[in-house]
């Protein structure tokens, strides 16, 4: 009862235009003042613990930063050129290349909206020029962009891992097969639509172009290898050298070096406009000055600002979680659900429904931080694999991002494509159906998620 008041308050405050973070924080504080004996100091303590006690969340600012260096550094453009060289000649080729680009960028970036901005801002315009309708282009990118959180690295996975204390490295591995699968399902759907509607196809530019574009994009693509080899090592041959959190920091430094000294599209060696960027050999002192260059400061600031808005929500969600735990809500919810005789299947349906509804109002990380601790103990009782549960949640978040009224990718696509929200919603609809089918498959075929982590890291053990 008391809990429903809390959740109604959270949603109500959000709907009248209170920032999400304050809606969560204010509701938690009022709940605590009314129902608990705990002090206001404990709220401040919990706020600081959001950082001090959850060091795995550090991966969030670092992956955002890596993605920022990659976007400003011209990596997206090179990825798109490579994608077009590979699949652009097929019927609907540019659209398929768009999906392919999103998949590759998703493997560099931890966020979906960032993927849409990086790829969509270039591809949507190109598709319209090539003779596709704007709606179709927007629908494709809007959906493919959601892969940003399913294909590792992923901010949402980091949040899930922090919320329920599972390994981030394991979650990342679990996202690989579902991510590829979702991407290919989208490509197939596009290909079928393209055949039926006779959409444009591009020219096959030859293997030379594939090779040349791969070479160009190689420095950016190698970041994927840096992250994966760094976290997992080469099994049996070479040990890993950093934790997933550290991998994010290493990725940032690497992306900084690529953007400044290899692509030179930012920093002291960049030249505005058409001119050839300067060579490092001629200006070796830039190895030092790049750290203090205005572009570096701007990239750090942009990433920092995004971190602030996301983490402020997450930290307030952690306060809500603390207040709920203090009142033993998760324990009681678990008891009630188990007493009601829910089986694993019904339970997973319920989780999907809760997340799909929640996703209509809430920013994904904050929602996950609240829902995961509530459903996790029940899932463990029912014998559901925690990693599988995590992937189900991530796919739900993806769908939440492309459904109104609150869909991050809808907003972003409508902004990037310059078209009204409702047209984007309609444009996204056919592909949304694909993602729904995908959600059902992922929910009821756990091995899609667990195969790779079990293979590489052994079966997950629940010790709590």
């Amino acid at each position: 009862m008391e809990v429903s008041i809390l959740f109604i308050m959270v949603v109500g405050l959000m709907l009248i235009g209170v920032p999400i973070a304050v809606s969560l924080g204010m509701s938690s504080v009022l709940f605590l003042l009314w129902f608990s004996d705990s002090s206001m100091a404990s709220v401040a303590q919990t706020l600081f613990s959001a950082f001090e006690g959850h060091s795995t969340l550090l991966a969030i600012p670092f992956f955002i930063l890596a993605s920022t260096f990659m976007s400003t550094g011209g990596v997206a453009l090179r990825i798109i050129r490579f994608s077009i060289a590979c699949v652009g000649h097929m019927r609907g080729g540019l659209a398929i290349a768009g999906v392919f680009s999103c998949m590759i960028f998703a493997a560099l970036s931890g966020s979906s909206p960032a993927t849409v901005v990086a790829i969509g801002s270039i591809v949507i315009g190109a598709m319209v020029k090539a003779g596709y309708t704007k709606e179709f282009a927007a629908g494709v990118i809007c959906n493919a962009g959601t892969l940003g959180i399913l294909i590792p690295p992923s901010i949402v996975m980091v949040v899930y891992a922090a919320a329920v204390d599972v390994s981030v490295g394991r979650m990342f591995l679990a996202g690989v097969i579902p991510g590829l699968m979702a991407g290919f399902m989208l490509m197939i759907a596009i290909y079928v639509m393209a055949r039926i509607k006779n959409m444009p196809k591009g020219e096959w530019a030859g293997w030379r172009e594939v090779g040349a574009s791969f070479h160009e994009a190689g420095w950016g693509l190698s970041l994927i290898a840096v992250i994966m080899l760094g976290i997992y090592g080469v099994p049996g041959l070479y040990p890993a050298i950093f934790t997933p959190t550290e991998a994010a920091a290493v990725a940032s430094v690497y992306a900084f070096l690529i953007a400044n000294f290899v692509y030179r599209d930012m920093g002291p060696l960049a030249v505005e406009g058409e001119g050839e960027n300067k060579s490092l050999l001629k200006k070796p002192h830039t190895l030092v000055t790049a750290f203090f260059h205005r572009d570096t400061r701007d990239a750090l600031f942009e990433a920092g600002k995004l971190t602030v808005t996301l983490m402020f929500i997450i930290s307030m969600a952690l306060i809500l979680k603390h207040v709920l735990t203090d009142e033993q809500v998760p324990q009681n919810v678990a008891k009630a659900i188990l007493a009601a005789g829910f089986g694993p299947i019904m339970f997973l349906v319920a989780v999907n429904v809760i997340l799909l509804i929640g996703g209509q109002f809430m920013e994904p990380s904050g929602l996950l931080m609240i829902v995961a601790p509530l459903v996790f103990p029940i899932a463990m009782e029912l014998g559901i694999d925690p990693i599988h549960l995590g992937i189900i949640m991530v796919v739900n978040m993806e769908i939440g991002m492309i459904t109104p009224p609150v869909g991050l990718n809808l907003f972003v696509t409508s902004g990037v494509a310059g078209m009204p929200m409702m047209s984007v919603v309609r444009a996204a609809l056919p592909f949304l159906a694909v993602l729904f089918v995908f959600l059902i498959i992922v929910t009821y075929v756990p091995i899609i998620s667990t195969f790779l982590p079990d293979l590489m890291m052994g079966p997950e053990i629940i010790t709590n």
């Binding site: 235009g17 304050v22 709220v43 001090e52 060091s55 930063l65």
Partner: protein
């Protein structure tokens, strides 16, 4: 509606501070990886990075208020006419002001004893300062060595006894500081809403600025 790009000196300072903190976090973590590869260690790397993380977000929160960058839902308020939007914005900002006031009290109460200062009485509204309390100026962090330039703190907060590690009062100081800034910024926004300069206090998504940039670029070329 918001996206006023950083121009003032205060903006410049806040933005540079955000950049410096994130840069420091990245370099410390990176350095720890490198040093560990050489069989060394930076034992204070994790704890100090985590504290910087807290400073980044908590100090950044008030900057984000100033820039209207905090995420929210505007689907419903868009349905209202201008007058209704103003009313909702006034209610919203009042809630934000009350919230940051409560958080400031909580933050002060939490931090004060670590600095041998009195917390406040009262459950939610501060009714004056505590008469007696146990100071916690002696309470140290886990891994960060106490830097020499903060040696003066020992006389102030630890009865002259040397600190082995940085006292907790230093990292925790950001709590009252940031909550006071947050309250200040929300009051400023409240004034803007009252004047009718703005009709909402949220951003609908996290990449508003980037999209504005993309629009600008497309506008230029096409």
């Amino acid at each position: 509606m918001h996206s006023n790009k950083g121009t003032s000196l205060i903006d410049e300072i806040e933005e540079t501070l955000i950049a410096i903190i994130l840069g420091a976090m990245t370099l410390i973590t990176f350095a720890n990886v490198v040093v560990r590869q050489m069989d060394g260690n930076i034992l204070w790397a994790l704890e100090s990075t985590v504290f910087l993380f807290g400073w980044l977000v908590l100090l950044g929160a008030s900057y984000a208020v100033k820039k209207g960058a905090h995420l929210g839902v505007d689907a419903v308020i868009n349905l209202f006419p201008a007058k209704g939007r103003r009313a909702l914005a006034l209610i919203s900002i009042t809630i934000c002001i009350v919230f940051s006031f409560l958080m400031l009290k909580g933050a002060w109460d939490y931090w004060a004893n670590f600095a041998n200062l009195p917390g406040t009485n009262g459950r939610w509204f501060p009714l004056g300062f505590e008469d007696s309390f146990r100071g916690k100026g002696w309470y140290e962090t886990n891994d960060i060595p106490h830097p020499a330039f903060l040696g003066w703190m020992e006389g102030f907060f630890n009865e002259g006894v040397a600190y082995e590690k940085l006292p907790r009062l230093v990292p925790y100081m950001v709590l009252p500081l940031s909550m006071a800034l947050l309250l200040f910024r929300y009051i400023q926004v409240g004034v803007s809403v009252w004047r009718g300069d703005i009709d909402r206090i949220v951003a609908s998504h996290e990449v508003e600025d980037e999209i504005a940039e993309v629009r600008e670029r497309l506008g230029e070329h096409g």
